[in-house]
Symmetry: C2
Subunit: 332 residues, 2 copies
């Protein structure tokens, strides 16, 4: 048996813009999965990579794009909340996905169903799931930011950067950001960033050295910044690479890393197994949701776009014209 839905389907695997809204089929629910009616889906850079053929879904996961969404449970199918109480048809949820968000319906493993943060609309909830889980898993569960840490976010003006600034500030850290324009740095400053670096005018290594180095660097650039990230690191610092916009292979000077007693991790959410994702989702609900609910971290939606215009949303993101998140609207 299968489930009928409308979804964004890529009709030409060689054309990342061939994203059409059309009817398709989903595999039926398995035990431990719920069916969610999607109201809004978040757009991530990883989605644009998938459309370009670079970031395939894990084995067994739908080819439909989309790593996060929010909506209403259509078939709870016996799933339970982290506290053990049952999810009920009609419950509003935010969901972390391995794929499938750009659709009317999505199948979600129990461990990836999250309550909507109190006071958040479904559009707002859809915009924070991936970034919240990514940041918590990286800056807390992989690196261990705490009071007194200095954290550097590359690409401070993006969705990860803006959320990261606020999360790190809430954790008591000093926050540095790099960005390519004064406009983006102004946004970072408004969200609480302490050290603003325009990478076109300044060398982030020199700036970070003046501030004693970074204890944690969250990097989306990869190879191009590898050596300079080590230079910018404080003793016992930790570089966490979650993107490779600046290339995949770079020279690692191990001697330099050893002088800093540095650590480099490269991580991602999507290919983790269900238990791992459930653990991350659970910690994110416990630690990050309260910060959303008390206003310590605000969502930042740049624009809401009808889901039929997914290709335009991808183009806007790749053109660098977005500060914050794009959300696709599925239900009017």
């Amino acid at each position: 048996m299968s489930i009928t839905t409308r979804a964004i389907v890529q009709t030409d695997s060689n054309d990342p813009a061939s994203l059409e809204w059309k009817e398709t089929e989903l595999d039926d629910l398995q035990q431990g999965e719920a069916l969610v009616k999607v109201h809004f889906a978040g757009v991530n850079r990883a989605d644009t990579l998938q459309a370009q053929g670079h970031y395939p879904p894990p084995k067994g996961v739908t080819n439909i794009i989309g790593l996060e969404a929010a909506g209403v449970i259509e078939r709870a199918n016996g799933t339970t909340r982290p506290d053990g109480t049952p999810w009920v048809d009609g419950d509003e949820v935010a969901v972390l996905l391995s794929g499938g968000g750009y659709a009317e319906r999505v199948v979600v493993p129990e461990g990836q169903l999250m309550p909507v943060p109190a006071g958040f609309s479904l559009a707002e909830a859809a915009s924070v799931v991936e970034v919240a889980c990514t940041l918590w898993s990286n800056i807390m569960m992989t690196a261990h930011v705490d009071k007194g840490s200095t954290v550097l976010f590359h690409g401070g003006g993006g969705g990860i950067g803006i959320f990261g600034i606020q999360l790190a500030k809430a954790l008591g850290a000093t926050v540095a950001v790099t960005a390519g324009s004064q406009e983006k740095l102004n946004v970072c400053s408004r969200y609480g960033a302490d050290i603003l670096i325009n990478y076109k005018d300044e060398d982030f290594v020199e700036v970070m050295k003046d501030h004693g180095g970074a204890d944690v660097i969250l990097d989306i650039i990869g190879a191009k910044y590898l050596d300079r990230n080590i230079d910018a690191l404080a003793k016992d610092g930790h570089i966490v690479i979650i993107g490779m916009q600046g290339g995949v292979k770079g020279e690692l000077n191990i001697g330099k890393l050893l002088n800093k007693r540095g650590t480099i991790s490269a991580t991602g959410l999507r290919y983790r197994d269900l238990d791992d994702k459930a653990r991350i989702v659970g910690e994110t609900i416990r630690h990050v949701w309260p910060l959303l609910e008390d206003g310590s971290i605000t969502h930042h939606i740049d624009r809401v776009v009808p889901v039929e215009k997914a290709a335009d949303a991808h183009k806007a993101l790749l053109d660098g014209e977005v500060t914050g998140k794009i959300v696709l609207q599925v239900v009017n």
Copy 2:
């Protein structure tokens, strides 16, 4: 004021063999330091590097070689044990050092004074300090080996390898080792290693893949093994580099590391600050000393050499003819 002692002094900085036993001066004790009469000093590969001019002591530390020793407190100078009780003149101690072990007397910061493990001679105690602190700080405090982990030690037949095999087994891990001869692999097997890899005959990557990959790799090779260590890693695995016998700079494939969600750390003990060392020493006494005392981990002294023959000891170590530790005898 200063303290007179005899010590190994390098008389020609361009000649690593110019190690003479002669009278020299130490800076007088500061508060929080004890003076220890050395009976035995351990020899480490790092000592041979220092004699070659590659591994200078931290600022403010004596030029005298030697990272570990055991002996008797000559002037406790108000220092206290980790439990707060006072050290007393005449107490036997093992000591972790930033330098100065190849001498009759050494000045030791309070946090680096350790009791001699029950049942251990001073020679035996001197042989385990550096390796115990190195292993605990790396495989537990940096990586987090636990029951069910698979740990790979490169250079299984050396001092680090032999101790590491036993420590990892005591922690419930499966242990793999590489070594360059069947003789060394036999030693590793005797100490409990489960997976024996002769790197001259076999590709450690293939062997580790057959065993599901390594969760933790303790590496002394550096650049030459960087890429293959990533290949040998299990998902979420951790490579800890503590030596660079195979070169300092290597290409890092970040994409490959990200596919494994891998982590690479490069660390060392010597340049850590006093607080950090005291923390490592404290954990080592708490967690490793009991394993020495109950026989879970045995010392492995290859030979005891008079301190005057330090140059010969270094040569033996560099010639690769040593399995286990060389200890220098200072007091007859």
